[in-house]
């Protein structure tokens, strides 16, 4: 019988594979015939992995694209990649949606009154080159504005601009880290963002820098932190003006009004300098420049309790390899440069240079300009000095404050050429639109930080009539200068790589997808006098006056560029569990005072700017502090920092007024409190559950060969939701949209539940627990849900009739029901994973530990006539986790990691008292 059972399961899985191999989600699946031979190098049913690089944000994490039938269906981090080392964030996972997005630009377009008409590339190029010429004759200046570019592309752009006498403007990034760069420039003459080797530190103090979310290279820092934590004696304190995911995950978190962190740091600096840094000749004049401060005064000014101030100082001094990172919102507010400088000086004083703070492997932000540069650009265009203006993968119209009048001034340029992927706010205003290919359709390389080169290679032919970044530039160059370089961008790259790496190195680069060069250490020299001046010049005048609104980057959308990805709207924001925003986060006390409740509509006003947003009450937020994600507000009213030219993302003196109306926003969490149910158990619950004897009247059913299980380390999980995105894409979980989310009908098989206890937040990843005694199975009248021989709680979609009893009877409520026939608009349907059936309307679906991967792994092992090795394959969620919080394996194998973790002291199961005996073992987090 077992055999039949197995064959039957095999039948369902492979059958469903065929079902969806044609990627048609709906029931009437049409089968692709292979009468026509499949394209080159495509073996039906076989997956290939091609290394490339994620371009969703500037961090440049390495990705392996899983390609089936010539279509990438999943992105995974490249293990050992110098940036991400196998991790990939929620945005990176979701970026496949960018590739297959139905709204992508499909070909070059020329403005035709209000609308555009599509034109061939040749026409586009000729028009550009003509206009370039004419504008030169008119004595106008042609300008090239791009996002942060690195590696060969950057050089090509420079070359092209030079050849065509186009002024290459400083690159534009919303998060340019101007203050940090400025501070480093002033102190050490290094105008760039250093690379922090957190893994080497034993005490980390972060000031504002949202390492886990968006700061410079979040995945890298996330991994570094967890490596450090794994090392044991590592402590991480975080100082921030609001409540961020990063703060929520630090060992301790202090909320300080921006501008005042400087006081804490100065105090720290003084302590360090006087008590520790004597040896490495720390310039005395700096101490003189420091504002006089005692622990008490600092405590008074910052609101941190005095003992804590002392504690921070003591720990910092006691630490062998302490590290301070100032950045993010703390440096994008008034006095940011002072804060950054103080931090940098502390580093210097404790001798973190050149080891833990590394300018050799700096983050390549040198060419990125400031907000002031954009002011100038806008002004120049306004004065009609601009001829052709290239806007390359950048969206200033959305992100620049209205006062710059960028949008209006664009009109005054002779020709604005927008190069991008979507018809975003900027592209919409351009005269000529040149569509660019997605990085998965293009050759290229990036150098996210010095000494690290990462490969971009096409894994599928362009879906639309687009050119890769490089080819587009070369095309321009060619048509404008008459003769471009022989061959395309690919040849050029090949040459460049050969030159830099040699033939062998190139081959290896193409195979591995990255190279890391060993760079010589780069010592820094401190200019004491300028340092002192810098410190002096930051006065208490540069302080934020409450009530204040913070514009912060979101882990889901970064500076707003990722908001176009449908999946990211579907995945709840980790802190608020809101899916389809926008909203404004309000602190508990302020809400109480103003009588604000979730979903209340308020108008947020500052000066002549105003916005209407729904309220979300956010625990842990200090009073009179409001937070809105950058993506929520087009043309935000941000100021320019007089000293750095960078942006000031704090909007002071905002007026929040209740309109009395409410706005429906999907808040997925039914309760931020555990209601004393011990999902994340305090010792009490743990004891209770340990004491419970597990009586049952059923005969024991053992599993012979495999029993799949998972361990979830709550100490490592930081709620970043990368696993959620991975699960969505791996398992063809549909994006259902706001209307259903408002009814709580999200489809995600894996959710991350935040629970707040007195300002502290804990995250609980909740997925199907694959119970040994599963309540859901028994109640199914048609055996659609049953227990397979490997301890999985499988769901047979084709047999489900949709009584939904299983979901009612699931204490974890991890089963999802298809309320509609979900469809994937062309070409998104090509993104479907052929190994997983797309579910039909009216059936229940759920996590099955990526059974398709299990099957694959077992087949491989079978071919090699062995049992599956531990860690040979893993589930999509576990694979994507940047911190390695999820461990999947066969718990019958006593050697396996999951077995060890499941039997650790910290292990427990959720709702142990229900006797469901889940296969998911949670490890209690060890927050100190």
């Amino acid at each position: 019988m077992k055999r039949r059972d197995f064959l039957w399961l095999l039948g369902v899985v492979s059958g469903s594979t065929v079902m969806s191999a044609c990627g048609s989600p709906n029931r009437s699946a049409k089968f692709t015939s292979y009468l026509l031979p499949p394209e080159e190098g495509v073996v039906p049913g076989e997956a290939r992995f091609h290394p490339s690089t994620c371009t969703e944000c500037p961090a440049g994490c390495g990705v392996l694209a899983r390609v089936r039938e010539g279509r990438p269906v999943k992105l995974e981090g490249i293990p050992g990649h110098p940036v991400s080392d196998g991790g990939l964030c929620v945005r990176g996972q979701s970026s496949l949606y960018r590739l297959y997005h139905p709204e992508r630009l499909r070909g070059p377009m020329l403005r035709d009154g209000k609308t555009f008409r599509s034109i061939p590339w040749e026409e586009a190029f000729t028009r550009v080159s003509e206009t370039l010429k004419s504008s030169r004759e008119k004595g106008r200046k042609n300008l090239f504005l791009s996002c942060r570019t690195t590696g060969t592309l950057s050089r090509v752009a420079d070359a092209a601009c030079e050849r065509l006498e186009i002024g290459r403007l400083p690159e534009y990034e919303v998060y340019s880290h101007s203050a940090v760069k400025e501070a480093n420039a002033l102190l050490f003459g290094e105008r760039d963002v250093p690379h922090y080797r957190i893994e080497e530190a034993d005490f980390l103090l972060t000031v504002g820098a949202d390492l886990l979310e968006t700061y410079v290279t979040p995945v890298a820092y996330t991994r570094k932190i967890s490596t450090a934590q794994a090392g044991g004696d590592f402590l991480w304190y975080h100082v921030e003006p609001h409540m961020s995911l990063t703060g929520g995950n630090a060992d301790r978190r202090f909320t300080v009004t921006p501008g005042r962190e400087r006081l804490l740091l100065s105090f720290l600096l003084r302590e360090v300098a006087t008590r520790k840094a004597a040896q490495n000749g720390f310039p005395r004049e700096i101490l003189a420049a420091l504002p006089p401060a005692t622990a008490e005064s600092v405590a008074r000014d910052t609101g941190i309790p005095p003992e804590s101030v002392k504690e921070v100082a003591d720990r910092f001094l006691a630490a062998k390899r302490p590290l301070v990172i100032a950045g993010g919102i703390a440096t994008e507010s008034p006095g940011g440069v002072g804060t950054a400088a103080a931090a940098a000086l502390i580093q210097y004083a404790v001798g973190a240079f050149p080891g833990r703070v590394d300018f050799a492997g700096r983050e390549n932000y040198r060419n990125v300009g400031t907000l002031r540069d954009m002011e100038e650009l806008s002004a120049r265009m306004g004065r009609g000095e601009a001829g052709v203006v290239f806007l390359f993968r950048t969206n200033p119209v959305f992100s620049l404050p209205a006062r710059l009048g960028f949008r209006e001034n664009m009109k005054k340029a002779q020709l604005t050429v927008a190069m991008g992927e979507f018809l975003d706010e900027t592209v919409r205003e351009a005269d000529l639109v040149l569509p660019l290919s997605h990085s998965l359709e293009s050759w290229g390389d990036v150098e996210p930080r010095r000494g690290v080169m990462s490969l971009l290679q096409p894994v599928l032919p362009p879906l639309h009539d687009t050119l890769s970044d490089g080819d587009a530039l070369l095309g321009l160059l060619g048509s404008a200068s008459g003769k471009g370089p022989a061959g395309g961008y690919r040849d050029l790259l090949a040459a460049a790589w050969r030159k830099r790496l040699g033939e062998a190195g190139k081959a290896q680069f193409l195979e591995k997808g990255f190279v890391e060069e060993m760079l010589p250490k780069r010592p820094v020299s401190l200019d004491g006098r300028r340092a002192a001046d810098t410190l002096r010049s930051s006065t208490s005048a540069e302080e934020v006056r409450k009530p204040v609104l913070f514009l912060v980057p979101s882990i889901r959308t970064f500076d707003g560029r990722s908001r176009i990805l449908p999946l990211l709207s579907e995945i709840p924001d980790p802190l608020t569990t809101i899916t389809y925003g926008p909203w404004i986060s309000v602190s508990k006390e302020t809400a109480a005072r103003a009588g604000l409740r979730d979903r209340d509509e308020v108008t947020v006003a500052s000066g002549d700017w105003k916005a209407v947003l729904p309220v979300k009450v956010q625990p842990g937020l200090p009073g009179e502090v409001f937070v809105v994600y950058r993506d929520a507000i087009p043309a935000p009213p941000i100021r320019t920092d007089p000293r750095t030219g960078g942006p000031v993302d704090t909007i002071e003196g905002v007026r929040i007024t209740k309109t009395g109306k409410t706005i429906a926003i999907p808040i997925l969490s039914g309760s931020f409190s555990q209601q004393g149910r011990g999902l994340i158990p305090d010792p009490v619950h743990l004891e209770e559950e340990r004491r419970q004897k597990r009586w049952t009247l059923y005969p024991e059913h053992a599993h012979m060969e495999y029993q799949w299980a998972m361990a979830v380390d709550l100490g490592r999980c930081n709620g970043c939701a990368a696993c959620v995105a991975a699960c969505h894409i791996e398992n063809n979980v549909p994006v259902v949209g706001k209307r259903d989310h408002l009814k709580g009908r999200e489809m995600s098989w894996l959710r991350i539940e935040p629970f707040y206890e007195k300002g502290e937040v804990d995250f609980l990843p909740m997925l199907c627990q694959q119970c040994h005694y599963a309540p859901c199975e028994t109640v199914c009248p048609v055996f659609a849900a049953y227990h397979n021989p490997e301890g999985l709680n499988v769901q047979v979609y084709k047999r489900c009739v949709g009584t939904r009893y299983c979901s009612n009877n699931c204490p974890y409520k991890v089963r999802r029901f298809n309320w509609w026939q979900h469809r994937w608009p062309e070409p998104m349907d090509r993104m479907l994973n052929p190994d997983v059936p797309a579910r039909e309307v009216g059936v229940m679906e759920k996590c099955t530990f990526c059974i398709q991967r299990i099957r694959g792994g077992k087949d491989k092992a079978k071919d090699e006539g062995r049992k599956v090795r531990d860690g040979e394959f893993t589930t999509a969620c576990a694979q994507s986790c940047p911190t390695g919080a999820l461990t999947f394996g066969n718990i019958l194998d006593k050697e396996s990691k999951v077995y060890r973790l499941a039997h650790s002291e910290r292990a427990y199961r959720v709702f142990e008292t229900l006797g469901t005996v889940p296969s998911i073992h949670y490890l209690r987090g060890g927050k100190t």
């Binding site: 209601q675 009584t803 009877n809 039909e840």
Partner: protein, 431 residues
Amino acid sequence: MENAEKYAKVDRDILAAMKKPGRVYLAGLAFTASLVAIGGILWAYQVRNGLGVAGYTHPVKWAIYITNFVFWVGIAHSGTLISAVLYLFRARYRTSFNRAAEAMTVFALMVAGLFPLIHLGRSWVFYFLIPYPTQRQIWVNFRSPLIWDVFAVGTYFTVSLVFFYVGMIPDFAAAKRYAEGIRKKVFTILSLGWKGTDKEWRHYGMLYLFLAAFATPLVASVHSVVSWDFAMSIVPGWHTTIFAPYFVAGAIFSGTAMVITLVVPLRKAMNLHEYITDDHFESIAKILLFTSLIVSYSYIIEFGMASYGGNVFEMGSFRYRALGEFRYLTWTMIFCNSLVPLTLFAKRLRRNTTCLLVVSILVNVGMWLERFVIIVTSLAHDYDPYVWGTYRPTFVEVGISLGSFGLFFTLYLLFVKNLPVLSISEIKEHI
């Protein structure tokens, strides 16, 4: 009065109903029929678009449809109860209600049977639930309460139908004398050529006794099974041992109420005051009162136990039930089911049909709410606080529910006009 005269009068009075329908009747029929039509259209709409058109949310995946199912099965109960149990207890007043009650049972079951289908995510594969050898090579899961339902309700329907029909055989024989045209033919055939010989009567008596004897435990079992649809789960507020007797009592309670709701107007419309007397109503009112007390007992025990064990889930569930956003429904339900029937302690009120009618209607409302509250509130706030949610019905659900009432009353109106509404032979026997 001469005996023969009496008997003839009984025939006339009871069969009087069958004469040409009046305007009011037709209007009523049209109305209920239109409700059916609306319900049908909405169901089609739902099948076309998927269950998303209903108000279901993530935690609340059962709602009004299941409420209706339980409600109608409940209604179906007193039918057989009054017929069978009272027959076994030799209760005279049975004769005045049994026919109406049995008809009610059959129709209510027809309606109830629809809801599991309406509720299915994929109604078009409902036959997966029926155990028969197929190329799918797989049988149903007899460990699932939903399969028990299939069997219990199926059996109940069949047996009730037989019971209903057997009871009518002699009456068909009587009715065919007065009917003419097609109706005469139909009655003649349905009477199976019944003559009324002592042999027939002897076997008939034995059969009826056994049907009654079978039906009585069936009544209890069926609603127990329905209650186990909930009690078998581990949802706090559902999983409790008292559910079976509690639901049975509740079913009889609501069923009896429905009988009263139907028979009071029936008696008036067809002036059957001689055959359905106030004494009869009083006796049946006592059943109502009695079952109401049992239901109240269960309420008390349930709420009491929730706080007794100190189980955080149970407590949470019942706190939500009593104080949560559905509290108004909960308290209305308690008012209708526990307080209103207490008035029936007063003999005067028990004999006052108007009062009875009001009470019975309130009880119907209360019992519908009871099922709704049990189903929805328990699901809305169960174990994991993160998924706590709520539920609001949509026009589709409301429409289909109204449609079900329409269907029930349509069938009932047709019955009233086409079949003997009282057991002629038994009434004669008891003259």
